[in-house]
């Protein structure tokens, strides 16, 4: 089975966000592979171990994103592709356009991705890739079996879950619970350095900047207003609990 895993390099969720010149600063920020994409890579590797085949990792990003691809290779993926758009004027529609172009040049039975990224949380890139490649998509998958031209996926739906069958190739996005991503081993890290990692630009996937201009324009960045200092209700637990109930009714008028 030939599997493509879409990954994104994101800020560490512990990162302290500050503004620099009206934009999000990148100073002192450590970067990680988007945790949902780790589930996608792990699932790709498990399927490869079961059915044979190969796993190609594809990302869109600047040179910094090399680390995320290397991590996937160290986990066991076979090759990586990093497309550097060379512009910051990109949004989800353009990232999806670039990913789809890069993937369309590959052979694949299945495309896996995270259902959202923890930085912008937009949850739309993988779905858009499916649409561009004219493939079905199943989002928020917590259990997956894929073999013999079809996949059976358990996915989160409104108020529960659903078991869905889909013919391959398809796009499947990972939800937490799908698996426990492995840590790269020392050997894996060494091997990853010798695995093919193609770094290419827009021209290499037959696109030019005008075809990927962002449709969404950010007007302003700001930091959330600090919440006003709260009120600690004094007293012994029982006493404080009673006072809290009263405050919720009389002060906050919420119960």
């Amino acid at each position: 089975m030939k599997i493509v895993a879409l990954v994104k390099q994101t800020f560490d969720s512990e990162a302290k966000i500050a503004l620099e010149g009206g934009k999000i600063g990148r100073q002192g920020i450590s970067l990680i592979m988007n945790p949902y994409d780790e589930y996608a890579v792990e699932e790709a590797l498990k399927l490869k171990e079961k059915h044979g085949g190969e796993v190609t990792v594809v990302t869109v990003g600047s040179d910094e994103a090399t680390e995320a691809v290397r991590q996937a290779l160290a986990m066991g993926a076979d090759q990586g592709i990093l497309v550097n758009p060379g512009t910051e004027d990109i949004d989800e529609s353009t990232i999806a356009t670039i990913l789809a172009k890069a993937v369309s040049g590959l052979e694949y039975d299945l495309i896996l991705g995270g259902f959202r990224a923890i930085d912008d949380g937009s949850a739309q890139v993988a779905g858009r890739v499916a649409e561009i490649l004219n493939l079905p998509v199943v989002n928020m998958v917590t259990k997956l079996e894929a073999d013999g031209g079809k996949a059976v996926a358990t996915a989160d739906i409104e108020g529960g879950s659903a078991v869905m069958e889909v013919t391959l190739p398809a796009v499947i996005t990972a939800q937490k619970g799908l698996n426990e991503p492995r840590y790269p081993s020392m050997k894996g890290i060494m091997q990853a350095k010798k695995k093919p990692l193609k770094k290419i630009g827009l021209g290499d996937v037959s696109l030019d900047a005008s075809q990927v201009a962002a449709k969404v324009k950010v007007l302003t960045y700001s930091l959330p207003p600090a919440r006003a200092a709260g009120k600690i209700i004094p007293g012994e637990p029982a006493e404080a609990a009673a006072a809290l109930a009263k405050a919720l009714r009389e002060e906050a008028k919420i119960i």
Binding site: I232, A240, L244
Partner: protein, 326 residues
């Protein structure tokens, strides 16, 4: 010419989801500033009886797309019929709720229409004739205002439970327009649906949430939270620590890798207030923290805090609220 604000009227099991009313109120607000009208699209099987009621909440027109094949949500069928409708009507903006369904549908429709999409927005307004959306990024540590200047329609999903619902206008009706469903090729088959049955409100729609963390010490103690939730008519949530320990299902996890919630009241018991937890609940209107550690980070976000043992505080709180409500 692009015109009007279109809202996706989300329904489940014959009931309109609350976020639909939030979208209609927001839609009405921006439509009146732009001098346009608000319409809704209602999709499903046997849902036409719900259409009329949407008028009271501000819809001037309701497009109803009914078909047996639309009984269960499938990405293909819903995206096909909704994208068709949007293409025919060319609204200025198309708004959906940022629910599991809304998020799934919005991405496919946006790509079919080759337009931009802003997800999980917490506000929408008109600035200089342009629709501007506010959305948190980086787990709520930064906020952006953004617009889609050229591509049409402008598309966005709005976080449930954040925007207000205007008082419904009794008797106001909407023009109901039945639209034939062109289902197209549906490439996924729903084999089974597993519903979580609960008498409690859904986390993302609940007015009040009572949430527990590692300080609950074990699954058996969630009974304390359930008792409190019962007197408040609340939903029960949890931190990831409890989910990872196997005490509670992932479906009730609140936070960056769980649900994003914005209730009127969020009570956090035995939760330290890690940034990834705050990411999922800091847009709650009133936050209460019960924690025995006075230095716990959660107190920085809390409007009311009790420093103490939750095993002593929760039962009394439940009793006192019961008394107040009696």
């Amino acid at each position: 010419m692009a015109k009007g604000i279109l809202v996706f009227a989300e329904q489940r099991d014959g009931k309109i989801k609350k976020v639909t009313y939030e979208l209609l109120s927001a839609g009405k607000k921006i439509a009146s500033q732009l001098g346009e009208e608000v319409s809704a699209v209602l999709v499903g099987k046997g849902v036409s009886s719900l259409a009329g009621g949407l008028g009271e909440y501000g819809a001037d027109k309701v497009y109803v797309i009914e078909n047996d094949a639309l009984e269960n949500y499938t990405t293909d069928a819903y995206a096909n019929v909704v994208a068709d409708l949007v293409k025919q009507n060319e609204p200025t903006a198309f708004l959906l709720g940022c629910s599991i369904t809304g998020r799934d549908l919005a991405a496919q429709v946006a790509q079919k229409l080759d337009t931009g999409l802003l997800t999980d927005c917490i506000n929408v307004m008109v600035e200089n004739g342009q629709i501007v959306f506010t959305r948190p990024i980086y787990a709520g540590k930064a906020i952006i205002n953004a617009a889609i200047p050229e591509a049409r329609p402008v598309m966005a999903t709005i976080r449930p439970n954040v925007l207000p619902v205007d008082e419904p206008q009794a008797g106001k009706s909407a023009e109901v327009i039945n639209v034939p469903a062109n289902i197209g090729n549906v490439r996924t088959t729903v084999k089974d649906v597993i519903r979580q049955v609960s008498a409690r409100p859904e986390l993302t729609e609940a007015d009040i949430i009572v949430s527990g963390g590692r300080g609950m010490k074990g699954p058996e103690n969630f009974k304390l939270l359930e008792d409190l939730a019962d007197v408040l008519g609340a939903a029960v949530g949890a931190s990831r620590a409890c989910v990872d320990a196997g005490w509670v299902p992932l479906s009730i996890q609140v936070g960056q890798t769980g649900k994003t919630v914005s209730p009127n009241l969020y009570i956090a018991a035995g939760i330290s207030g890690a940034i990834q937890h705050l990411a999922g609940m800091s847009s709650s209107k009133v936050i209460v923290a019960v924690n025995k550690d006075s230095e716990a980070n959660i107190f920085k976000s809390a409007d009311f805090g009790v420093v103490g043992d939750l095993f002593e505080v929760l039962p009394v709180l439940t009793q006192e609220i019961k008394k107040l409500k009696a």
